[in-house]
Amino acid sequence: MSEIVSEGGMDADTFAQFTDQLKRYVRERLMPAEEQVLEDDAIPPDLLGEMRDMGLFGLTMPEEYGGSGMNVPQYIETIRVLSYALPAYRSITSINLGMVCSALKNAGTEEQKSEWLPRLAAGEIACFGLTEPGSGSDSAAMATTAKRDGGHYVLNGSKRYITNAPHAKLGLIMARTNPESMPKNAHVSAFLVDMETDGITVGKPDKKMGQRGSHIADIYFDDVRVPADALLGGEEGRGFATAMQSLDNGRLSIGAASCGYARRILDTALRYSGERKAFGETIGNFQLIQAMLADSQAELYAAECMLRDAAAKANKGKAIIEAASAKMFASEMCNRVADRCVQIHGGAGYLAEYEAERFYRDSRIYTIYEGTTQILQLVIAKNMLRDFASGAAA
């Protein structure tokens, strides 16, 4: 496959040296600890400390803010490599590296950047609050409000399914600063909220289908007073635009999670195909099994290529169609590969004792968050139609 573009990021040698170490770290440390994470439904504190020391929370923050200054293709490749292991390991880093880091980089004031970026790079955990009980895909319909009161804003409302909420020190919270919905969603603003502020309650972690070791919860805001300088960029009405700017990266990150995990799943299917015997032969000798393996490989390779291309394009500017396509295709692919892995395992694939069953449950979220497949279809089609009408299509 083509090289990882290093333009605007870390130099290629340093990056190669790091991915080498990371691959080993994944194989020798993260994977052997998976059983423990599954049993405890938590990453052991020591291991989390090690992940911080490895620099995994600082990949995307600029060097002057204590990070490693990776560009989009390098960040996405790193997530792909990391995602060969249990999804919880990516999940705990994902909000720091993705949404919150890009929002701060793109829209934060100098004070906000120098306050938060080094802390995030060092591994203080962030969460991102957009979804609410009454609004998911239609997130601009949110009900949480932020009202100006002298030198403060007062937040009221609730957020739902918020990844890392139980661990977060910083919340990037989207709230209405205008009761009326406005064009370009200018009624939404973004706030950098210290999660220890009075009036914030985090609900019990939700019970989920998969992704054990990673946690989501509700966040309730009850007259939460935050200083006015918690408003991202110091300007009202920019919240939604900021979130949208970071979407390409977020989608590519899910694409990378899907590709990395699908590789693990396919390797597991290959191993089983070489071990299990039926009708006096290893099942890998049967052409119907081979067809499942071959389809999986072809689709995974396609997704990897899309991901790399979309990341290179996103590095240069907007790549809405490419990033949405890569996320949509990769996440659906991961689910198909996981489904085949179960099938190849026969009865064993249905049992919790085998990894295939877990892969199937873990993969399911990838077609839902950071834009459901249906929402992405709309995004891709709308942008294509718009580009075509304006003559911008190639």
Binding site: Q17, M54, G55, L56, S68
Partner: protein, 248 residues
Amino acid sequence: MKILVPVKRVIDYNVKPRVKADGSGVDLANVKMSMNPFDEIAVEEAIRLKEAGKADEIVAVSIGPAKAQETLRTALAMGADRAILIETDDDVEPLGVAKILKAIAEEEKPGIVMLGKQAIDDDSNQTGQMLAALMGRPQGTFANTVEVDGDSVTVKREVDGGLETVKLTMPAIVTTDLRLNEPRYASLPNIMKAKKKPLDTKAPSDYGVDIAPRLKTTNVSEPPVRQAGDKVEDVDALVAKLKSLGVA
């Protein structure tokens, strides 16, 4: 106290080596290369001694092709302070390596030269011993634990049936065994810092030693494929089978 740590660039331990068709050696084209695992243990031990305040500088040295720079960068990223590459595309045998290391040790004056007990490519297990002999200094090979106290270093050695303890007066040569420690991973921040650490490049000729090969490899071949076993029904059948094979 300074520690000199020689590190070798070898075929990665996860790679299944392939022998060249003409039997002249192992095919290294497009094969992943890494630091010899025993040398990683040596680097780790040196760093731990430095962290414990027993050493104040760690110098990593590699003898090999330009690409061995990567191996040195890994040592620097783990925590070595500076590095020396003696660049050569020739195959340098353990004796040649030991001679170069002796010359470097004379310049650098380390308290300990910490080597891997062997490299996983040629499994020679000679360099440390040869270096000790050439330098006329004590050696503690197959180290299981290393303790520095004043001007001596105590090494527990892994020997058949247990551990043997030797106390060496520094400067001394120590070679590391597998169980000495578990080497750390180079973190991303340290990999980035390592780029700014000094790495000198020299040539074998700078040391005026004769490194011409003394050995000739006549043939390299794949290990024989293990024959599949036979299953027998019961003990009687087993005994009969062994008899028929002439082993019982």
